[in-house]
Amino acid sequence: MRTMILASVAALAAVPALAACTENATDDPGKGGDSRALTVTSSDDACELSAVEAPSGTLTFNVTNAGSDVTEFYLLGSDGLRIVGEVENIGPNLTKKLTVNVPEGDYFTACKPGMVGEGIRAKFAVAHSDDEQEVSASDQELIDQAQANYRAYVQDQSAQLLEKTKQFVQLYEDGKDDEARALYPQAREHWERIETVAESFGDLDPKTDAREADVDFAAGEKWTGWHRIEKDLWPQDAEAGYRALTAKERATYGDDLLANTTELDGRIRATGTDALTYPIDAIANGSIGLLEEVANGKITGEEEAWSHTDLWDFQANVDGARVAFEGVQPLLEAKDAVLSEELATKFKALDELLDGYRDGDGFVLYGELTAEDKKKMTDAVNALSEPLSQLTAAVTS
């Protein structure tokens, strides 16, 4: 998954109410005289459409860039401001497809060669047809609600992460290793639930969550964060000759982790123009991305190489993915009820499977899992991830 893009409010100029589905055009545009399939040729000084009107329903615009600059194409509402659908980053000689559901009404089309200014605009009319899907007026409310809920969830998890990190660092620096070891997976749960948000801060993620194998020591990189401390707390799997960190080194790594976690929390709780926004596609991608974390790192036991507390992370990734999914579920319900039902079922199945590996307040250690256990988990993750990968396209259609 490409890293979640969470822009601050100030950086956002215009956000489409519902991002339309952008596809790369591969098929023959306008074939069979389909009046809902249109071609657009964007050149340096013109924006030619194959038609200036279409019946309502699902329209496709095959946008070819015949100019020399990068171009964009927009379908705008009658006020010339509201973005109904857009397709960006079309390089010269390339073609991309915009698929968007459009009700009856008056619109503007705009090509924006060079991606600046108002673009080359023209009127575009959509006539009533029986194929018209009712676009719910309450969509925007559902989106607003999902964004507010997700923001609150991320902030809450971040606050708990900071609190437990403080306690953990204190225990570690005080040499209370048993207590630090007990708190380690519990504190990290909060990180893992919002991992895709934390990763969007490209500078903080490697400082706090890098695994030893990710660090290029030969190139002079330093290893800091959770896993550096993890290795020191669980040295039994370390290489022969591993030297325990001194009290002074413990303080250095501990303070550094706390400082970076405090910085993370500050950015997550920023208000005003620095506040993070959570576009609906970013929330959906966050859900997908967290399951990808499970498949890539937790199921393989690579994340917690010394503590072997991978199942805590596994559960926390699934928690975060489920919360993000549930946030957009009301919207998905209206657009693809079958997918919504399937995802709810598969999330439940994965949670139930994980319940079987609980032990006291936590989970069994990764090393206790058999090959059969790992296969079952992989199967359940695949079963969920495959339909989940459709989530973003479904909620933004």
């Binding site: 490409r2 596809e23 790369n24 990068v70 390339l94 194998a213 290029d216 990808e292 992989t378």
Partner: protein, 383 residues
């Protein structure tokens, strides 16, 4: 593809199988030498040379053949290529660091003072999960052909000839070429579904080959025997196929920096249009800063180019039912210190694709120049 009847000369100034138009199939083997007797090693290289010269021309491994020998002895060719054409078979030999000095620093064959300076074990790169049982080796043999059975036949028989002198360390099958080494070939796709090797050095680019692939006469005074040869780097790159397949198309294209359909760079044009790394998109450059094409492009690596000759592989499934698949990277280059290590370091550090890659094996070999009639491979090294 050159067609099943094609054969390439075994003898020549360069070994075949480097700039030869990449065949569709690969069998690659790395071996360790088990003897400390220099004469035994030389005898094996002679035997291999003779067998390779015959097999590449459609002949048998041994001088007699699979069915023409005495009935009370096993044939000197295993026979599975009997009715098959040469299928463009090339057999290419390389020498690993262990041939010169073993792990304990011992000069096994009196070759230590001829070890090329650049021929030492490659460093481990970040995120590597190298399996020693899939890495390194004292010797290597690359067999490429357009028929998989012809390639396998070659390796099987050469390994058989080596028993007692060499032991197999690891081997790798490749079922589809992922590179183009001639302008006459179209660009194939890797298992991510993208065209791969668009910017590869091609056989027709003589100057680029001299600059980036062939070891120059003055490159290494201790290893004059390697002049006109090359270095061979292999990396077994597992792809996390199942996770990749769930990436949205636009995301896939941003990871690579090219469109999936035509292979054009995201900055526009067609497949062979040069990428424009300065072109802006709506949020940063239109070719992302961590796109594969940018990270490994000559423009971002001091103009360094390599000749890639890799293959797609699928070695069945792993223990959780995922494909054990990926790209067996093979590259020929003039000096790994300038033409591989910096490139791989940049990739390991910055390339967005790394999220879907697991490097499970690697090796480096020095590939001697070609073999003249009557000579054996690497003869200058032992002279």
């Amino acid at each position: 593809m050159a067609g099943p009847l094609a054969s390439y000369p075994f003898h020549g100034v360069r070994q075949a199988g480097i700039v030869t138009p990449a065949q569709d199939r690969l069998h690659f083997v790395a071996l360790d030498v088990v003897t400390d007797d220099r004469d035994e090693l030389v005898a094996l290289l002679k035997a291999w040379t003779e067998a390779a010269a015959r097999m590449t021309q459609g002949g048998s491994a041994g001088p007699v053949g699979a069915v023409d020998g005495p009935v009370n002895a096993p044939p000197d060719d295993t026979g599975e290529a009997l009715d098959l054409a040469p299928s463009g078979l090339t057999i290419t030999f390389g020498f690993g660091p262990g041939l010169f000095v073993d792990a304990d620093g011992k000069d096994r064959f009196g070759l230590a003072d001829r070890r090329p300076e650049a021929l030492e074990a490659l460093p481990t790169f970040s995120a590597d999960v190298l399996d020693p049982a899939r890495s390194e080796g004292d010797l290597c043999i690359q067999a490429c052909a357009d028929d998989p059975q012809v390639a396998v036949h070659a390796i099987r028989n050469l390994v058989r000839i080596g028993f007692g002198t060499t032991t197999v360390r690891w081997s790798q099958l490749g079922f589809g070429r992922t590179s183009t080494t001639s302008t006459s070939q179209s660009t194939p796709r890797n298992l991510f579904g993208f065209k791969d090797g668009t910017a590869n050095i091609k056989a027709e680019e003589a100057d680029a080959l001299d600059q980036h692939v062939w070891v120059g006469a003055d490159d290494d005074s201790k290893a004059a025997w390697l002049a006109g040869g090359s270095y061979l780097v292999t990396r077994r790159i597992n792809m996390t196929i199942e996770v990749w397949d769930r990436q949205p198309l636009e995301g896939q294209e941003q990871f690579i920096g090219r469109t999936k359909g035509t292979g054009a760079p995201l900055s526009g044009g067609e497949e062979f249009t040069d990428p424009d790394f300065d072109m802006s998109g709506s949020a940063g450059p239109i070719i992302p800063v961590d796109a594969h094409v940018r990270v490994v492009h000559p423009d971002t690596n001091d103009g360094v180019r390599i000749l890639r000759r890799g293959y797609n592989f699928v070695d069945g499934s792993n223990d959780v039912g995922g494909l054990d698949a990926g790209l067996f990277f093979i590259a020929y280059l003039r000096d790994p210190r300038t033409h591989f290590i910096p490139l791989q370091r940049a990739m390991s550090k910055q390339d967005a694709l790394m999220e879907y890659l697991r490097f499970t094996g690697q090796a480096l070999f020095a590939v001697p120049p070609g073999v003249a009639e009557g000579e054996y491979v690497g003869q200058a090294l032992f002279a």
